[in-house]
Amino acid sequence: MGAILSLKNIGFSYGESWALKGLDLEIRSGELLGVIGPNGSGKSTLLNIIDGILIPQEGEALLKGIAVSSYNRSSLAKEVAMVAQENHFRFSFSTLEVVYMGRFPYLDRFQFEGKRDMEVVYKALADTQCIELSKRSIHELSGGEKQRVLIARALAQEPTVILLDEPTSFLDLKYKSEIFNLISSLAHKAGLSVLVVSHDIDLTARYCDKMVMLRDGRVFSTGAPDEVITASNIEAVYGCPVIVDKNPVSGSPRVSLR
């Protein structure tokens, strides 16, 4: 089966140097792809290109074989959902209202949500264990709960691709594993193409099928987690001495500072 999303020879510059250069990347459906790399290595730029917010100067980004830039905002929102790192709700919305926001691209200008929207939102809430949160204000939720609600909103978009930008960065260990379990079920059970950008190398390596390691806007290494997560790769990209061994239970690579 072909790739849902494929980036070919992408080059993007904000003005001076290349933020991304010669980048190739593919995701199939049901695949969980982890993207790691130090700050400034081009991870956020990559997400914004897939989401059509930035248009690359070189190469092409194809979604289901069609250039991302030729989708309009609303048809793109039906294919690609983003769970962003920062979310500030200035006004108080209930969890339910936030998740229903994901139905935006499916409704006409003066249309209200109907039966089909109610089913999709119910499933999104159920899949993320958010049903009991639905009446609460988004302002009252804990970091982990809020992250789940935002994933539910992304699912309400009924996308084929979900992008997550450091979904676990402000969470404690319990919530981190909860979120990664959820993300993994989206790819492996629901069959979505999931791309997660993360600073949690161990967790990403533990859950992802494939990894991409970026350095200075270029793919430094890509492949299965144990091919990418090696002491020499990490030292070359992050510039600090590490030991990489195996998690004794899962067998996935584990990074510790030397």
């Binding site: 989401d51 917010i53 309009n72 905002r73 609303s74 048809s75 793109l76 929102a77 039906k78 690609v80 959902a81 983003m82 962003a84 979310n87 500030h88 709700f89 200035r90 006004f91 108080s92 919305f93 209930s94 339910l96 209202e97 936030v98 229903y100 926001m101 994901g102 935006f104 691209p105 409704l107 200008r109 003066f110 209200f112 949500e113 039966k115 929207d117 109610m118 089913e119 939102v121 119910y122 499933k123 809430l125 049903i131 639905s134 909103r153 978009q157």
Partner: protein, 344 residues
Amino acid sequence: MTDTTIEVPLGPVRVVRISLLLCVFLALTIFISLLLGTADVTLDQLWGLFVGDPDVKETVRLIVFKIRLPRILLAGLVGFSLSLGGVVFQALLRNPLADPFILGVSSGGAFGAVLGIMFGLGFNFGIPLMSYAGALLTIFLVLEIGKKKMGMESSTILLTGVIINAFFTAIIMFFVSTAVDDRLHSMLFWLYGDLSQSNYNQSVIVFPFVFTGFVVLYGLSRHLNLITAGEETALQLGVDVKKAKLICFLTVSLVVGLVVAFSGLIGFVGLVVPHLGRMAFGSDHRLLMPVSALGGAVFLIAADTLARTVVSPSELPVGVITAFIGAPFFIYLLKTRGSKWARS
């Protein structure tokens, strides 16, 4: 709730029901305002006028239909528009302290109107058009200056609005003070928001624009919901943010600019009413917009009735009343909610 669906937070029935309830409330406010004023109009007389009783005195008929009703109608339209403008600005700037007056859009419109008067334009077409141009120019000026260094930081934009507001008010004062034309002298009173010169003609001019403006903006109510969650979020959820914002700014400037041409500077309506609406009915603009607009009409009719009765037989500009209510309210919002809104 059944097994496989979950209720919607808001349905059209609720929007219509609450809007109709507010319409009844609005009608009641209009009725009470017709009774109140320097001259006595009794309930019997007013009722007689409505059912066509020929015994009602001609003076009463004149007071009700020629003096009070046109003023009340205009107050309602102005309140409706300013409050609608407040809701939309607050959503676009993601700041609950935004309002057409605080952002300088009202005084920009007033500046346009004063220029119109100096050029000898008429109140039917030329002056409202100038007022619209002034309002539109101001909003783009405020956005442009406000964003220069800080990105789209909404408190910077608000501050820019305050400064522009002060600047335009000063220019208007300058023109008023140096003018030889009698019409400009009477404008001083109008600077504080004055509805005493109202006639039906003004409402007839304003109404179609306000109505159309409301429909256009209501069509963007879900867009505004998403924009309050952040422009990038809105983009990712499928909103054409640039287009939505442009339509909103053009429409709100039109509506606000027009009413300013006939009412002068009336502040804080767009601040107080939407906030109360949000506390009572939540943040969904599909409900908040009609609630705030109708609530704004009620609020300004009540405020104007106060303005013409508290110091009877003389009158206050209605802007004095709204400022008396609105300024402490603004401070209260800043004190109680300020910390939450300070970060962007």
